[in-house]
Symmetry: C2
Subunit: 204 residues, 2 copies
Amino acid sequence: MTDRRGRRGRRPGSSDTRQEILVAAREAFATAGYDATTIRRIAIAAQVDAALIHHYFGTKEQLFLAAVQFPLNPVDLIEKITTGPPESLGERLADTFLSAWDHPETGPVLAALLRGALTDRLSGRLVQEFFARQIAQRVGERLADLVDRDEVPARVTLAASQLFGLALLRYILRFEPLASLPHEVVVATVAPTLQRYLTGDSDR
Amino acid sequence: MTDRRGRRGRRPGSSDTRQEILVAAREAFATAGYDATTIRRIAIAAQVDAALIHHYFGTKEQLFLAAVQFPLNPVDLIEKITTGPPESLGERLADTFLSAWDHPETGPVLAALLRGALTDRLSGRLVQEFFARQIAQRVGERLADLVDRDEVPARVTLAASQLFGLALLRYILRFEPLASLPHEVVVATVAPTLQRYLTGDSDR
């Protein structure tokens, strides 16, 4: 163990401290954005030593992921989606997205995240920041060789609109028959939509 | 004025009574569904005379619309969407949907409805029942000449997934640049998606 100090009488290492760091991190990332947020700023807000934050959560990016409580590793996800021929990008994206929502462990966590984003403004901003930073930017880097770079952000958010809509109707509001359609049918149906939004002609 | 009677000492005509009828109606429509719900059942739950409900709200369908608080006339909407050549159905659907959300009066009401549906189970069921009864069924009737009748419900919920996703990201979570894209650009981009879901080849 290191010699980090709890300040103002708070015991370091308690789950309260961990929780308070996460609360301060959520607040900071949601209001100032990822780039402008520093571990130091969060440490001051949580009234702990910055070293304690590093010890608990690692890097700023790891702390961000912990604050968002995203149940999957975004780097692995993006790798899965972008590895393979560009013409089947839409299919891999649909399959990866639906697999995460269909999965009994990650599905309910994702549903809770989306519900939270819709009811709490701070959570909404955090999810938006997470999407922009961890998903859109990385997918965008892979798209930059395929389409006009200026169009990438619009293309990514359009694809996201189809995916978030599926999440909403299939997993949260459970509109039938969409909620009961087999995974493969939904993937095959929405894949061409995603492909067109991401790599189709720019007049779409 | 008619001779309807307030029961158990409640004054007929008070806004409390009106409100209690709406609460009972929301509960009944959400739990039993539109078909199984009768004005009589709602009258018993709200402890008022059925004639009072008819006087305030008109028919069962009008009461249902009042209970959902949908800010537009679904019949007019469907008329707008389905009048015209079948090959531009997707475009009319996208345009009509986005116009309602872009409109300064109806947009915020729709946003409140969707938020409510996501946070409150009863509201969620009510919106689902409203969608099935007032939107999907009517659009389905118009699609029946164009595609296999058995496929209509899946087609309609798939189209809805794109539209609800747009509502979510463009108007509620406000993901950029989607939130700022011009109306016509979004319509032109999603119209082919909706057209394919609704009338495209059945292997999609």
